[in-house]
Subunit: 374 residues, 4 copies
Amino acid sequence: MSRKIRLAMIGTGWMGHVHSEAYRRLGPLGLLPQAEVELALVVGRRESTARELQSRYGYTRWSTDWREAVEDPSIDAVDISFPNALHHDIAIACARAGKAALCEKPLGLNASESEEMYRVAEECKVLHMTAFNYRWVPALIFARSLIESGELGRLYHFKGVFCQDFAADPDVPFTWRFGADSAGAGSIATLGSHLLDLARWLVGDVASLASLTETFVEDRPVEAGSASRQPVSVDDTTCLVMRFKNGAVGTAQTTWVARGRRCQLELEIHGSRGSLIFDVQRMNELQLCEEGPIEKRGFKTLYIGQHHPYGQVFGLKTGMNLGWRDSFVLQACEFLKAVVEGTRPRPSYYDGWQADRIVEQAVAAARKRAWVDL
Amino acid sequence: MSRKIRLAMIGTGWMGHVHSEAYRRLGPLGLLPQAEVELALVVGRRESTARELQSRYGYTRWSTDWREAVEDPSIDAVDISFPNALHHDIAIACARAGKAALCEKPLGLNASESEEMYRVAEECKVLHMTAFNYRWVPALIFARSLIESGELGRLYHFKGVFCQDFAADPDVPFTWRFGADSAGAGSIATLGSHLLDLARWLVGDVASLASLTETFVEDRPVEAGSASRQPVSVDDTTCLVMRFKNGAVGTAQTTWVARGRRCQLELEIHGSRGSLIFDVQRMNELQLCEEGPIEKRGFKTLYIGQHHPYGQVFGLKTGMNLGWRDSFVLQACEFLKAVVEGTRPRPSYYDGWQADRIVEQAVAAARKRAWVDL
Amino acid sequence: MSRKIRLAMIGTGWMGHVHSEAYRRLGPLGLLPQAEVELALVVGRRESTARELQSRYGYTRWSTDWREAVEDPSIDAVDISFPNALHHDIAIACARAGKAALCEKPLGLNASESEEMYRVAEECKVLHMTAFNYRWVPALIFARSLIESGELGRLYHFKGVFCQDFAADPDVPFTWRFGADSAGAGSIATLGSHLLDLARWLVGDVASLASLTETFVEDRPVEAGSASRQPVSVDDTTCLVMRFKNGAVGTAQTTWVARGRRCQLELEIHGSRGSLIFDVQRMNELQLCEEGPIEKRGFKTLYIGQHHPYGQVFGLKTGMNLGWRDSFVLQACEFLKAVVEGTRPRPSYYDGWQADRIVEQAVAAARKRAWVDL
Amino acid sequence: MSRKIRLAMIGTGWMGHVHSEAYRRLGPLGLLPQAEVELALVVGRRESTARELQSRYGYTRWSTDWREAVEDPSIDAVDISFPNALHHDIAIACARAGKAALCEKPLGLNASESEEMYRVAEECKVLHMTAFNYRWVPALIFARSLIESGELGRLYHFKGVFCQDFAADPDVPFTWRFGADSAGAGSIATLGSHLLDLARWLVGDVASLASLTETFVEDRPVEAGSASRQPVSVDDTTCLVMRFKNGAVGTAQTTWVARGRRCQLELEIHGSRGSLIFDVQRMNELQLCEEGPIEKRGFKTLYIGQHHPYGQVFGLKTGMNLGWRDSFVLQACEFLKAVVEGTRPRPSYYDGWQADRIVEQAVAAARKRAWVDL
């Protein structure tokens, strides 16, 4: 007897589309056989986009008012990908209404919003999850299992970068991402929240950090081709050094002006017994250095596939590639599975809050030009 | 006014699943807006599997008799992934019934079957396509566009390998792939038909070849763990040298016993002006060497994404990965788009036939220990 | 008419050997045709090692007193590779005696020693050079020429690591490198002085930094196999963030406990127009990202050879490898060429002093847990 | 009591220089302590070049008549790098005169010359060696030791390429390399003899082969910038498939018109238990795939250094690079060590003959368009 889950999607942007397609793939991929998922409601800020998602993904109905999702007693689960400024109010309303929710990252506009979202969800005893989709990349899940099982020994170093170049051209127009009012911070928020969540997940909680932020492209055209330019008020680049609570140390860098680095989310972790390297541009690979005779010490390139976590889901042979969208399918599956099974999934709002805290403290540490403790 | 297309799937194995999911993703991905696709019928050899695909992918009905797909006048298009031995009869029946069809590779059990499939489809003026899914990998489509536009100049060399290691362990049990009766040939058929189709597509028709085949693992357990072993009667490995009609030359190797080569479908092409390298294990990358000053001559690693063919379909930023399954979505889309628009898509049965011919001649050349002309 | 240069070598350790062989290769390689080099004197602390170098490299005579090199009026140039603690006194004596000198890195035991070495050498108007051999790697010289000519545009980021794993095993015995008294600092001194010199050379002077240091292996056997262990009093690892005076920013890491990283001296530099990557483990390669159409943006792997700086010296075709020892030949050549021509070569003691200052401030910043200005 | 060896060098070209420098480095590197090497005589075809080598490398005397080396009873060993057309006569004269000799590759102008050189040297019981310098690359020596010790199991496949691009530009002028009269064959001789020697050394003797040769650039300027062009009468490219006597199979390709492949001498060998990959452009690396759990199967990148063959000779730490010239030092050392110790070194003239045979049969097989047995 499969249980029926009614899902409401609040959001019609990029992530609204990507998440919606992911839910649609669960059944055809044979995932979540214990439930029947109804895409019950999609909420957009404009009727036109809400209708577009309804027709494309088969939502039962649409609305322009997110409260409808909260107030409808038949809705079991909510997926929140509205603009960041609205995450807080929607998530808290969902919690108070007893709805399970998956919220896009960054969780809140700032860490105090995120903390409140976490605390209210806990008080209300609802299921809550933050959409750090990279936690669902099988290569990283395998990496974490190696760490958990002690194959790397005591962790020493983390080196992480999230370097892109989409904004390297100074004539890339101004958007909300480049304004402090609209985005809070720059590369450290957009890219850094992913990176620092992975640092926490793989290595552990951050104890303290020092950082610097810099804006290399000081203004941008108000729109493509315009001669009128608007000042950029967030960081293009953030660099930080940090100590983890377990004694590991590390560096991190985020930037969107690194020419040639298209989407380099690269992590390197050294421990007393071994090391690993991962780059999301080659998301089906993991480089692993294990113990062994010194003349054979080196990094091995593993293609992640049928013998690794989630290896059977997509019916691929090792060496065939999973795609970035596939990570959202696994995320969608784990969210709804937790709803069905009543478990408490990770990454939760707690994780979203912690990532927001580190980002916030990275910005503060740069501003204060001092180490900060977390 | 969107046209309705009714599709019948004949096949419930691995490819039946993968193709079915691909059709299901067309709508959600906003592809093929000019048509409404009905998954009208799924045909399996056993009721249980047919029913399973029906329920998973939402086929309107199921059958265990493939003739039902052919005889039902409401069916517009047929997808054929039944065992290779049945491709010929089904494809010819489809053609005679006026159905458009996409048939899995290898097209026929041998080149004369394939040729007949092609000739009948042409006579019947039906749309026909062979499911060489790697032709739908955007990195390769980009590669071909570079070749077509002359950026590599006159083509000199092709070097292609399709090396896997799934059969490297001699205790991998005997399956139909290891028997000449059931599979015709070994790695050169299973892996080589993909490789040689890409050689033809990217470089051109093959004029002549010499080859060798070898079986390193001479027998295999009749089933996992069994002490009883059955002789392997097909090649583990085939190596060939060839001349193309346009004057280019090259080598190719297929094998499934190459330890560490998990799914290396790697191509390298040199021309008078430039070169390129591709490996399906890193299907989102292309290495390109262009003309330019000698001190800066080298291969550049391109991450294929939003600025390349089909770059907008999956909503990815450059550096985020497409997956192997995504190539099937593009194949499904192009098949049905051709049905709607009445065009003649490639790769057609002609291409399937040619690949089968080269495979067959590679086996023959090895047996005869002589060069063969195609 | 070629001038005769009489060289004294003060040092019989690893670098004494490597430098000596480099001088011996100048003539056979056709370098420095304008001079005849006499290896006039080798000074060791023990007679046995001094005699060994004399006989191996053909020094005219040997001594156990370094003052002999200083006081002999026939000596033109001195190569100083005695233990670090003696660099200062020897270099100053050389300067006061009017001798040109090449001194191993780190220049002084601390920055104030290095500064004095620099100031005295300047006062005495003698030629002085610091043996940062990586500045003589052709790939890096080519990298610098690209930066100098503006091909990378305005510099944004430097990311540098010097990661080794020779001390990863906690049973690697205690040596002078692991004691603060003997070595001053740990990986940041031994490895960091190279790394930070390259940062200065390629990017520019450092304005400020924050850092952390950590000792993961807290004690080591007093000798191989011993159960008795001695505390390690220097860093295994140092991580830092820094600002350059020209506005660029960056991170750096040094460590000798990074399993699998055998000798990774890797630099990455992004500028407004392009980027480059270098790793000394592949010292004949440079990865370069130039401007160009967005669909072809990526890093190109260049093999450094006959078309690059010093490309003709070793008679190699591009793609054949220079070795690490070859960089010492170029260093030896440039040192003696400056002696002959009366020029002021770089890297000078000034550069050695600056590297020592950054190392010292990196240690201080970690201790104070604060940003420091340089 | 060290024995004195008097060496005569016959050759003043590229290899004359490279070999000469190698002999000069033996003493300084502490190699061959059991002998004192006198560079006794250098022979050039012109007085000027002979004198140049004399002065650069310190030869005792010079001559323009190679018979002087043969006839001088005080000469112990001869190094032959005169033009290929003279190898045969010189080598045979040396043998008859009882001189040990190291001869450059290709050994003879054709296999029958090589065979005679081998047979005469054997009859005369002199030491004979062919200068396949790549056999002295430590990474390859390590590779061979892995194969010898059975770590790869039974050998299945060899894939070798030697691809360069120095002749890719059709305006590269005509030289002796491009004429059949002067060079015998093209890329298959110049590049192929190295490649096929390595194939024999690592895998075993070749039993049979089929091949094709092609000339893409049909004529070249008689000299740089000239409008007058001369026909090219040798192959730019050769491709072959082959069977080894031990049952392994493989492919090989040589070319000098492969844009972007600067000096790619890349070998890949798969066996029943493991695999390895080597490229001379990264001559300090070996990629190795060993047995182990399937989820960790992959190629490991090893940096070859202090823990590998000849690891202590150059005083490098692992990860620091040996250079191409260093391989000649090891070759020179092993040649003279065999002279001192009276051993029979490999690669001998036998190996040179066998490489010439395979090259010759590769050309013949292409001409006959048939398989040939060796």
